[in-house]
């Protein structure tokens, strides 16, 4: 214990602690002045936390919206190129099940795929009819891609599709709208004049407003081949899942290669299909968020510099106010480095004090705004990085702007300092 305190490291540590206590005492003795001095830092740190919380919350909100869709998802559909609008029809560019199998076989970045096709029939149960129900034909792989819980009954199987079973899955909304029994599995639903056995119920998932969803509606799913049998002319497109979110670029290239090859497109010809990949949209959004963050960061940086100048000013005042004290400390053996440390620590403590108040104000405002309902912001709270950033920045401002006054104090000649009035 004694040896540790005697060691130079122990002494430096003791010195730093002494300086910290001294500095806290100094700030406490001049509370009002300290608050005024640190105002720049307070405003800087307060605004950085609020903006960071807002930005982070907005980003979280948008990414959450994307996430509802699934970041690994992509869609492929047939598309007539602009210069071919007069010579081609949609049936020429329609996606085919053969192409789906090609993609599954030759695209290593694709984990899973399901073709999608839609029907426009009325759906009825007993005397109740549901208009505008969405009827979708799917493969059983759809269950892997879409994150939709089967709450009752069973999901589709491969056989349902291959043997064109007249079975369907409905969503929970359908039970309500069609006044089905609580467990409708085993009941029959009338779709386009045919009886479909309800084999399972899946959860209703509200498509987010951002992607044109909003209201939930009655959804009926049937095997892809069953729907194609009822209406061979319905359009077809694919929903796919990549092996990872990062693989989206590779997946696009692979699909483009496979489809262009299969469709015998010459190099100068445009694609007769189109794709939508969520991941690239997320990246675009993140880019925008980063730019906003950088602009805000620059503004906050300027405000912290202004705050730092205030700190430097008051530290210079403090040094000349306490010149006699510095002289005395030097007279009893304080080395220049120790005096430097003392004033530097004081500047840092002052800045951290300002930073803490700024954080408190930031927390208060964030908590207050968080109470407002229906904000397009997810979990409006101060992210941890903003916390550390503002604390680190306050300390840095203290060191940078406290350095000059501290050096000034440390270089004072003891006898001149003692004679100072």
């Amino acid at each position: 214990m004694l040896r540790m305190l005697l060691s130079p490291i122990g002494m430096v540590r003791r010195l730093i602690w002494q300086s910290v206590f001294l500095a806290i005492g100094q700030v406490w003795a001049n509370k009002f002045r300290a608050v005024l001095t640190a105002l720049g830092i307070i405003i800087g740190v307060g605004s950085v936390t609020i903006v960071a919380a807002g930005l982070d919350g907005m980003q979280g909100f948008v990414l959450n919206e994307f996430d509802k869709f699934g970041a690994r998802k992509m869609w492929v559909w047939g598309d007539i190129p602009e210069d071919k609008e007069e010579v081609m029809s949609y049936s020429d560019v329609k996606m085919s099940v053969y192409e789906a199998r090609l993609i599954l076989q030759y695209a290593p970045s694709i984990e899973s795929l399901s073709p999608l096709t839609y029907g426009g029939w009325d759906v009825g149960y007993g005397k109740t009819m549901a208009k505008g129900a969405r009827i979708t034909g799917i493969w059983d792989t759809w269950h892997d891609i879409e994150d939709r819980q089967v709450v009752l009954g069973r999901p589709f199987s491969k056989a349902d599709n291959e043997e064109k079973h007249q079975v369907c899955l409905i969503n929970e909304q359908a039970i309500e709208d069609l006044k089905l029994s609580i467990d409708p599995t085993g009941d029959y639903l009338l779709v386009g004049g045919r009886r479909f056995l309800i084999v399972g119920v899946i959860e209703t998932k509200e498509a987010s407003g951002m992607f044109g969803g909003g209201q939930s509606r009655v959804e009926v799913y049937m095997p892809f081949n069953t729907l194609k049998m009822m209406n061979p002319y319905s359009g077809t497109h694919f929903v796919l899942e990549t092996i990872s979110a990062d693989a989206s670029e590779a997946a696009q290239d692979e699909i483009r290669f496979i489809l262009r090859n299969h469709r015998n497109l010459d190099p100068e010809e445009a694609d007769t299909f189109d794709m939508f990949v969520l991941q690239s949209e997320i990246e675009n959004f993140n880019k925008v968020a980063r730019v906003i963050g950088m602009i805000v960061g620059a503004i906050v940086f300027v405000s912290l510099i202004v705050g730092g100048v205030g700190i430097m000013n008051i530290m210079l005042v403090s040094v000349s106010e306490r010149t006699r004290e510095i002289g005395l400390r030097k007279a009893v053996g304080a080395k220049p480095f120790v005096v430097l440390l003392q004033f530097l620590v004081e500047a840092v403590v002052l800045c951290l004090f300002g930073g803490a108040i700024g954080l408190l104000i930031g927390f208060g405002i964030v908590a207050g705004v968080g109470l407002i309902p229906n904000l397009p912001i997810n979990e409006f709270e101060i992210p941890q990085w903003a916390l550390w950033l503002s604390v680190g920045f306050s300390a840095l401002v203290g060191i940078v702007f406290g350095m000059f006054p501290a050096i000034k104090a440390s270089m004072l000649n003891p006898i001149d300092a003692l004679r100072h009035e």
Binding site: L2, L5, L6, M11, R14, L15, Q18, G25, A29, R324, E325, L328, R329, K330, A331, V332, G333, A334, K335, P336, F337, V338, N413, P414, I415, L418
Partner: protein, 292 residues
């Protein structure tokens, strides 16, 4: 040699042709103009002189608070004139206890904290420091005033806190610059008694003063004039002091009076200075030893 010291004793302080030159505008003021002085362990020296004689400048240099323009100052065998700021701070911390006329206590801190201050910058551990501070405060008779702030203490008590602070790192020399200048005569006696007690315990003490009664308690009186040593006697042989004692005893006490002994000394110094400027080689002034 000095009274009470054999030739083998190594001087605590050795000063050779020390000069301090201040620049005031275009003018150069020689505050110290070639001072030679040896001070031995356990001496009690009074440095006297009129204001402007350079005694405070000499004291500041002895305390390493200021640095000489030219000359050598060796403290305990260490040449301080060759040291940097950091090393000098260490010397002030370890070797020197400095007592100021205006006490120079930290007004925000208690007596105890004030005494702790020098140990903040020493290698002593926290617990050892606290023990030492309490002990030294006890030595100056302030055990019951440790938690008082300077404004709650009398002048004499404040100066005793300052003395405790000066002693706390066991310095080899105790320097006091007009320690009783701000005190009344009763507390002056208390402080002088404290110095005498410390001296009897082996402390080397140097006091700057312009009061003959304070100087009378020292063993040795060094007189400065215009930055030079003009006399260096033991207190019992110093003609000016003896003269002053005589006058006080006869009831003719007037501190401002210029006595015959002083006039004689001054003219001696002046003629010696002229002589030296003429042909005399530089070195230790011979007139300082006259009358021995």
């Amino acid at each position: 040699m000095k009274p009470g010291h054999g030739d083998t004793d190594q001087p605590t302080i050795q000063i050779r042709s020390l000069k301090k030159i201040f620049r005031v505008g275009d003018e150069r003021v020689h505050a110290l103009d070639g001072v030679d002085l040896d001070i031995y362990p356990n001496e009690f020296v009074a440095i006297m002189g009129a204001s402007g004689s350079g005694k405070s400048t000499l004291m500041n240099i002895l305390g390493c608070l200021d640095q000489p323009t030219r000359g050598e100052y060796v403290l305990n065998g260490h040449p301080t004139h060759k040291m940097g700021m950091g090393r000098l701070a260490q010397v002030r911390n370890q070797e020197i206890g400095f007592i100021f006329q205006s006490f120079e206590l930290l007004s925000r801190a208690t007596a105890f904290k004030n005494v702790m201050l020098p140990m903040l910058y020493s290698k002593r551990g926290v617990l050892g420091s606290r023990r030492r501070a309490k002990k030294v405060l006890g030595m100056v008779g302030l055990s019951d005033r440790m938690t008082h702030r300077p404004n709650q203490l009398s002048g004499g008590q404040r100066q005793r806190v300052a003395i405790a602070r000066a002693l706390v790192n066991e310095p080899s020399i105790l320097l006091a610059d007009e320690p009783t200048g701000n005190l009344d005569s009763k507390t002056t006696v208390e402080i002088i008694d404290l110095f005498k007690q410390l001296h009897s315990e082996g402390q080397t003490i140097i006091v700057v003063t312009h009061e003959e009664d304070v100087a009378g308690h020292a063993e040795r009186i060094v007189r400065l004039r215009d930055g030079r040593v003009i006399s260096d006697y033991s207190a019992s042989e110093d003609p000016i002091h003896l003269d002053w004692v005589e006058r006080m005893a006869a009831g003719r006490g007037n501190l401002a009076e210029v006595t015959a002994a002083e006039i004689e000394l001054n003219s001696e110094a002046d003629s010696a200075l002229l002589e030296e400027r003429g042909a005399e080689p530089k070195g230790r002034s011979i007139f300082a030893r006259k009358g021995r």
